[in-house]
């Protein structure tokens, strides 16, 4: 008998009597203003949220914020003039040089400040982690209340996706919070008013 058969057979023999699935598995969060809550949560975890009117203002802001930075990459066509690093190389190791990446993300969650990003909008899964600094662009309207609402949006997921909430951090040395463990050292969220 293979281990698979052995394990499944043992489980069948040993599992408890049938228990029904719980009736209620989702809860509503009532935030008067989801955007306010979203910004408040992200600010508390060292993340700046900037509202921009349109793609032209996004480009101006990007220039302003990252004026002296080289090795910029983006997945947003309107910023192609701003970026000097091509994402065409199929080898993810090449991304090691990127200092700042501005990426299209899908939506945010007010309750915990998490942004959903997936390989629907990414040429490389490693990109949001390997870049030294990170920025996401999401439509201003795309903020949901809580994780239950988030998964209602995520019925069709791609091969890979991630909720990212703030810059990479650790508190493994005497519980002192340090920003910038392995992933991005900083995170900025651009809320785009009109696409």
């Amino acid at each position: 008998m293979t281990s698979r058969e052995k394990i499944l057979q043992q489980i069948k023999l040993n599992k408890p009597a049938e228990t029904p699935f719980p009736e209620t598995t989702r809860f509503d969060s009532l935030y008067e203003n989801t955007e306010e809550k979203f910004i408040e949560t992200l600010t508390a975890i060292y993340t700046e949220v900037i509202v921009v009117k349109d793609l032209a203002e996004l480009a101006r802001k990007a220039d302003e914020l990252y004026a002296s930075v080289a090795n910029r990459a983006t997945t947003i066509p309107a910023l192609s003039n701003w970026a000097d690093f091509s994402l065409n190389n199929p080898d993810p190791h090449a991304l090691e040089l990127i200092e700042i990446a501005i990426l299209q993300a899908e939506f945010g969650v007010a309750e915990n400040g998490a942004i959903w990003i997936s390989d629907a909008h990414l040429p490389h899964r490693a990109l949001p982690f390997i870049t030294q600094n990170l920025a996401f662009v999401i439509p201003r309207k795309a903020i949901v209340n809580n994780m239950h609402d988030a998964y209602e949006r995520l019925t069709e997921t791609t091969g890979w996706g991630c909720f990212i909430s703030g810059p990479s951090k650790t508190a493994d040395i005497e519980q002192s919070l340090v920003i910038g463990a392995h992933g991005a050292r900083s995170l900025v969220i651009f809320l785009l008013e009109e696409a």
């Binding site: 281990s3 049938e18 029904p20 699935f21 400040g113 890979w160 990212i164 990479s168 519980q175």
Partner: protein, 458 residues
């Protein structure tokens, strides 16, 4: 690391020698527990969430085989290779073979308590494979050649100075440096090099989803993603109990996990893997290693609902004052003390006794495991099975003789009270374990029984 087992009580005595250090350890973990309290109270539906999570996990326990079969099928359709391991040895062999087949002798790993349980690093290293732990806390304990002392905070038992000295020796940081920012930066550079040069990455699995065949890995540092997305092969090791039915159930668990663990609303990264990226191989190893046995023990199967948040450890008055290593098991603290005897009753018979049974662990558990009740039940199983030391067993037998005979009990009480009053040194000495770190109570003049009889007569 397989070292000779020192009993919990003896190991904690050593830990307790440095009083200010124990106080610091205690306060640090209590601080994490308080963050959990604050964060949980921000959600009005917190208790309902716990109830729901517990209900979903009960459903999982009673449908385990069907869920695993559905998961396997979906995952295969997604292009993931599935392996089944009956025990730790088989798990380790599978990992070794995957590496050998691809001529790989160096691997990065993100935190996985299951591979600690399987003693995988030790096994692979004997076969010439170098495994680098990439979670900062895990890397620290790995460089010290010791196991993690906490499942979420692996190096919580160490001070800045210990880590400064360690990094000076291994990573060439300045002697005497203790700044966490500086030390973390050194580790970032050191580990970035590993991420960029390793062709295999192993991660744990926080949740596996039967509906989609995907799995979720949660970290704050991003190390699981750095490893997995740069490597040619991603191996994910999971205990089979990590399965949940549907993707939307993640909402319940992700709302509970980080809040219970550290007080954060969610971990920085919650990565959902479903298909390998182009050109990459993805493998999942589904591990039993005693879990089917625990599933069959009606009194203890609820321990398989655990989502490894560590809240029970942070709140446990015994864990906080004895340190994770005193539990000599991959998972320490209250939940570890329920899981460990399932793996080996003889080796781990001491652990269910390392508890005050105060119930704090059960009160904070996000999936409502009856932890302290299970600890109490294990004690009975272990004594009946003859797994506890003779002295403890004799003590329990003596107590049972005294307590089952009212006249003998009354006489012993009288004798005890009078001895404590007239010759206190017979109890106030080092031979009496109750006297350690404790004043003996002042004996009352009469027993409650005598008082009651006297007052009833009046």
């Amino acid at each position: 690391m397989s070292k000779a087992i020192i009993e919990h009580s003896v190991a904690s005595e050593t830990f307790n020698k440095d009083e200010p250090y124990v106080d610091w350890h205690d306060e640090t973990l209590w601080f994490v527990r308080q963050k959990r309290d604050k964060s949980s109270k921000l959600l009005p539906e917190w208790e309902q969430l716990r109830e729901t999570a517990s209900g979903i996990k009960n459903y999982v326990l009673s449908h385990m085989d069907e869920l695993l079969i559905a998961f396997e099928q979906k995952a295969k359709e997604n292009g993931i290779h599935i392996h089944w391991a009956a025990d730790a040895a088989e798990h380790n062999e599978i990992v070794l073979n995957l590496l050998k087949q691809n001529n790989i002798d160096k691997m990065v790993k993100s935190k996985s308590m299951l591979t600690e349980e399987c003693h995988m690093n030790e096994f692979l290293s004997k076969s010439g494979i170098e495994v680098i732990d990439t979670d900062l806390g895990e890397r620290i304990v790995q460089l010290r050649n010791e196991p993690p002392s906490h499942i979420v905070l692996p190096a919580i038992h160490l001070k800045k100075k210990d880590i400064g000295d360690l990094f000076h020796e291994h990573l060439g940081t300045e002697a005497g440096a203790t700044d966490p920012q500086y030390l973390t930066e050194a580790a970032r550079q050191h580990l970035r090099d590993k991420f960029l040069t390793r062709r295999a990455a192993l991660t744990g699995v926080n949740f596996a989803i039967a509906e989609t065949g995907g799995f979720v890995v949660s970290t704050n540092e991003g190390n699981a993603d750095m490893g997995a997305h740069l490597a040619d092969i991603h191996i994910a090791s999971m205990g089979f109990e990590k399965i949940i039915p549907k993707q939307k159930d993640l909402a319940v668990f992700l709302r509970l996990l980080a809040r219970s663990a550290t007080g954060q609303p969610i971990t920085t990264y919650s990565s959902h893997f479903k298909k390998p990226r182009e050109g990459q191989e993805m493998h999942i190893i589904i591990v039993d290693n005693g879990r089917t046995t625990q599933l069959g023990r009606a009194d203890f199967r609820n321990s398989l609902k655990c989502i490894r948040c560590g809240a029970c450890m942070n709140t446990c008055p015994v864990y906080r004052r004895s340190g994770g290593h005193s539990y000599h098991n991959a998972v320490a603290g209250p939940i570890g003390s329920i899981l460990a005897p399932n793996l080996d009753m003889t080796k781990n018979a001491d652990l269910p006794f390392a508890s005050t049974l105060c119930g704090s662990c059960s009160n904070v558990c996000p999936v409502k495991i009856d932890i302290h009740d299970q600890l109490y039940k294990w004690r009975q199983v272990l004594v009946k099975g003859g797994h506890v030391p003779q002295a403890k067993e004799l003590g329990i037998k003596a107590m049972s003789v005294v307590l089952s005979q009212p006249r003998f009990y009354q006489w012993s009480g009288r004798l005890g009270r009078s001895l404590m009053r007239t010759i206190p040194f017979v109890v106030n000495n080092g031979m009496n374990p109750w006297f350690k770190q404790r004043e003996m109570p002042e004996p009352p003049k009469e027993s409650f029984r005598d008082w009651y009889i006297r007052n009833r007569k009046e």
